[in-house]
């Protein structure tokens, strides 16, 4: 089937980005088989969708960018993947990512870093950097990523594509390899708002296998609106600090002006607990991760490292050598904050702060704001290696995105201009389960914003 061949050819052409972990041979073979089996009546019939390597597929290995799952084939597939296939989509390979989705640059992959499609010295963002880069390079119209603290929106911003993180509980997590279970959601990348939204619509909806997935119908797509008449857009002042890069500020101002011209009302709001979001995130996510990653012990799956003669030796060598440095660091931090004597000071405190952060958003929405608009990331894509030596500096690139994960709200990034040729994204944060309103506003803004113009 020539469609499958064309899809594979496009993906193989993007090989230099190191965005795809699936070998070309496996890809071609599987795409042929999938295309032959795909349901012609499906709403995504023939659409290739690349899938982040921390989402289980029967096609291809699922390694999470880690040595500890090198060569691992999942004997079952994620609900989101099954829904894509049922809609006629083709699973177009597995994309490179930071190991277990821990990182903001895709430099923490055991299989090498992903190159930014526009500047190979730079990072595509992360952790879903492979998915973002492939969509940006035009290899696929859409891809699945996953979010724990901004891992779809941040690389979408860096690569100049659309990235949507749905409401917590909108998409089943069954088959998404857990990092921070109370924060994780599968998200989507698209060349356009529409491509991203229609993939999201297909993978959304109830799933009895995920107890945290809400018992709701799948997302209904809105139509493209004529104007933004009636929309009230809030601008949280904490997301526009005085030290914000002036070019980022300019790009945002231009987008805000355009939304006003479309008829939206704009008003400043305050989310006072924002400064505590990153530290809150860096307690909760590692704590949950330390427990979620306990199952990688070399007993049931994955490789074993060197010939350990006793059980503890097997555990320690498998985990010590199978996990990379960032994952080890986060497991240790997470174990520390949960350990006897520290739980109240860190974990419990962080959970309370999380409640306050969520309350900030409810307060803003209660005062008549429909959506919030912010920069997605404080800066465009940074250079490879630039933040590797300082974990905190790396964590700071999530500063505007982690809040939506902590509060469980839907949020998305779409391109709003460029700085010295590098894309920059604007973020819309919506109310829980009102993705349709958020997508509606994004449709309108997308039509008018000069996304490749310098800000």
């Amino acid at each position: 089937m020539s469609d499958a061949k064309a899809v594979a050819d496009r993906l193989v052409k993007a090989k230099r980005l190191n965005a795809l972990l699936t070998p070309p041979k496996d890809l071609r073979k599987s795409l042929n088989a999938q295309a032959a089996a795909a349901r012609p009546t499906g709403v995504l019939y023939g659409m290739p969708v690349a899938v982040k390597d921390n989402i289980c597929t029967l096609e291809f290995t699922t390694t999470c960018g880690s040595r500890i799952l090198e060569g691992y084939r999942s004997p079952y597939e994620a609900t989101a993947v099954a829904k894509l296939k049922a809609a006629g989509a083709l699973i177009a390979g597995k994309t490179n990512c930071d190991e277990f989705a821990m990182g903001s640059s895709t430099e923490h992959s055991a299989y090498g870093r992903v190159l930014h499609p526009l500047d190979k010295a730079r990072v595509p963002g992360g952790s879903s950097g492979g998915s973002a880069a492939l969509v940006a390079a035009g290899a696929v119209p859409a891809a699945l990523g996953s979010e724990t603290g901004g891992s779809v929106r941040q690389p979408a911003s860096f690569c100049g594509v659309v990235g949507i993180k749905p409401t917590y509980g909108r998409v089943s997590r069954y088959g998404l390899v857990a990092f921070g279970s109370s924060l994780d959601q599968i998200g989507v990348f698209g060349r356009s708002v529409h491509d991203a939204a229609r993939v999201l619509s297909v993978i959304s909806g109830r799933d009895p296998r995920d107890s945290t997935c809400e018992d709701r119908d799948s997302l209904r797509l809105p139509t493209v609106p004529e104007s933004l008449q009636g929309f009230v857009i809030g601008l949280p002042r904490e997301y526009f600090p005085p030290e914000l890069d002036p070019a980022v500020r300019r790009a945002c101002d231009r987008a805000i002006r355009l939304m006003k011209e479309l008829g939206a009302a704009v008003r400043e709001v305050s989310l006072p607990h924002t400064p505590y979001a990153v530290p809150t995130y860096y307690v909760i996510a590692p704590a949950e991760a330390s427990s979620n990653l306990a199952r990688y012990d070399g007993v049931r799956y994955g490789p074993r490292f060197n010939g350990a003669v006793d059980l503890r030796g097997l555990y320690r060598s498998t985990r010590g050598q199978g996990f990379g440095p960032e994952v080890r660091r986060r497991i240790l931090v997470g174990t520390y904050v949960l350990s006897a004597g520290y739980y109240d000071a860190y974990y419990k405190r962080a959970q309370q702060m999380r409640a306050l952060i969520a309350q900030d958003f409810r307060n803003a929405f209660d005062r008549g704001v429909d959506l919030l608009f912010t920069p997605t990331v404080p800066s465009p894509a940074f250079k490879a290696g630039e933040k590797l030596g300082d974990p905190i500096a790396m964590y700071m690139s999530d500063i505007f995105t982690v809040t939506a994960n902590l509060a469980g709200l839907p949020a998305m990034s779409l391109p709003i201009g460029r700085i010295k040729g590098l894309p920059i994204g604007g973020q819309l944060i919506g109310q829980a389960f009102l993705e349709d309103e958020m997508i509606e506003a994004a449709y309108a803004l997308e039509r008018v914003v000069p996304e490749t113009d310098e800000a």
């Binding site: 088959g175 009895p208 296998r209 350990s339």
Partner: protein, 476 residues
């Protein structure tokens, strides 16, 4: 020096469900290894738990039967530790917000009559898999069929004062759980497991001393033994000037000894935190009421009712109600017309003995037992003959009266016939007759026995004695 033992038991009970706690795999016992497994109970990357409503219902029944407060909202938590039979590296359990708290269990202590022990808490959790140590020369085999099977953990207060008392507590608990049908409580199959917290103190002391936890008590018979060994070890240690350290002791049934758990991972830092994969466990009042109405009459209530309704002694009522099937059987026998005390006597002796020999089957139908009892009461069967009839009915079925007739066991109450046997017996035992007449009247039992023998058990023994007395007196 007088020592007092302080024991609290933590009991894990497998709930009687078809499927596992968090996945749809079968809980059936005895399948080939790793054949009842799926992504969830194997702990595969990306798998998530979905809670079994029936298991929650059975746990609530257990909590209600123990008089616990069942909380409308409880939280699942992760208990983190590494062990190869624990696939996820954590057990989904409950921690600071358990399903139920503060209940009681009353039981008959061998030393202190009735003791009411506190139940501190009852929570839901999932089981781990099994480690097979003796199958491979160089390795340990892991079977995950049991991984994820639903359990309740029942934490008893430090209210038990001897190993024998601990055993009595456990027996009563087991009986209660079997009664309400939430578990088969088979220790040999691992569906009931017990860990014990043990400390000792000098008589009169009120504070608790450092305790140890005794694990690996795999059979009912070992409960008392294991605790006795540990108690004696602690006393000997203190008397020789040592101190007890808090640690886990494993019981070795072969050696009848305890030894400290060897692993260095003794920190017990389980890093509990709320399970983010499961929302709060919210129980509606209707759900709890449904579980309440599914509970049968509990053993203690049944015993009291039997004392009141059937005028049984407390001891007899306790035996008859010790098992739900036996209690139901007893009531059926009474309902079929048997006199309550006679029915209790028969159930406690013949019926239970026969059941004990035949896989706990109560083989004689209640109506048939009532008939046997009536035949004795009416003088048609001697007690001995009735036992024979009972055994025959148990083995082959049939009508008791027909069987008694077929076996020729119907009692002869005709004075002339009995007098014939008496005459024969007295004629054959002249020396004994002489001794009797010289005042050795206790020989009467001997004569009655001989008449029964001569009649092949058919003579009515009371009539035989009356005739004997007459004849022995007449010729004196």
């Amino acid at each position: 020096m007088n020592w007092e033992t302080v024991i609290g038991l933590e009991t894990h009970v497998q709930l009687r469900t078809k499927s596992k706690m968090f996945c749809g795999c079968s809980t059936a016992f005895g399948a080939p290894p790793n054949t009842q497994v799926c992504p969830v109970c194997l702990g595969l990357p990306g798998a998530l738990p979905a809670a079994n409503g029936a298991a929650i219902g059975l746990a609530v029944r257990g909590a209600l039967a123990l008089g616990c407060t069942v909380h409308p909202k409880s939280i699942f938590a992760r208990k983190n530790y590494f062990y190869p039979d624990l696939p996820k590296g954590y057990q989904i359990s409950q921690f600071d917000q358990p399903l139920a708290t503060s209940g009681t269990l009353s039981f008959v202590s061998p030393e202190r009559s009735v003791v009411t022990a506190t139940i501190v808490r009852l929570h839901l959790e999932e089981d781990a898999g099994k480690s097979i140590h003796d199958r491979f020369a160089k390795g340990t085999g892991i079977d995950l069929n049991r991984s994820g099977v639903p359990l309740i953990e029942i934490v008893g207060g430090p209210d038990l004062r001897s190993p024998a008392e601990a055993r009595a507590y456990l027996q009563t608990l087991k009986q209660l759980l079997e009664y309400i049908g939430i578990s088969d409580c088979d220790m040999e199959k691992g569906s009931l497991r017990v860990d014990a917290n043990v400390s000792v103190r000098r008589a009169g002391e009120t504070a608790f001393n450092t305790r140890t936890e005794v694990k690996n008590i795999n059979s009912f018979a070992y409960v008392e033994k294991a605790l006795t060994v540990e108690r004696d070890r602690q006393i000997a240690l203190i008397e020789s000037g040592g101190t007890v350290t808090q640690q886990t002791m494993l019981y070795d049934a072969k050696e009848n000894a305890v030894r400290p758990q060897r692993s260095k991972e003794e920190s017990h830092d389980y890093r509990y935190f709320p399970e983010p994969d499961l929302p709060p466990l919210v129980l509606t009042a209707e759900f709890v009421a449904e579980q309440q109405s599914a509970l049968p009459e509990l053993p203690a209530a049944k015993r009291d009712r039997f004392v009141a309704a059937y005028a049984l002694s407390r001891e007899h009522a306790t035996v008859v109600t010790s098992n739900r099937a036996v209690a139901d059987y007893y009531e059926s026998v009474v309902r079929a017309g048997a006199e309550p005390q006679a029915a209790a006597n028969w159930v406690m002796t013949e019926a239970l003995a026969d059941a004990n020999d035949h896989q706990e089957q109560l083989r004689v139908a209640p109506g048939a037992l009532a008939q046997v009892i009536a035949l004795v009461k009416g003088g048609t069967l001697s007690h001995q003959a009735a036992k024979k009839v009972f055994g025959e009915v148990a083995a082959k079925g049939g009508e008791p009266r027909n069987i008694a007739e077929a076996l020729g066991l119907i009692q002869v109450a005709d004075t002339n016939v009995v007098a014939g046997w008496v005459t024969d017996v007295l004629g054959a035992h002249a020396p004994e007759v002489g001794r009797y007449r010289n005042g050795e009247t206790k020989l009467m039992a001997f004569f009655v026995g001989q008449v029964m023998r001569a009649s092949k058990g058919k003579a009515d023994p009371k009539l035989a004695q009356r005739v004997l007395e007459e004849k022995l007196a007449a010729s004196a």
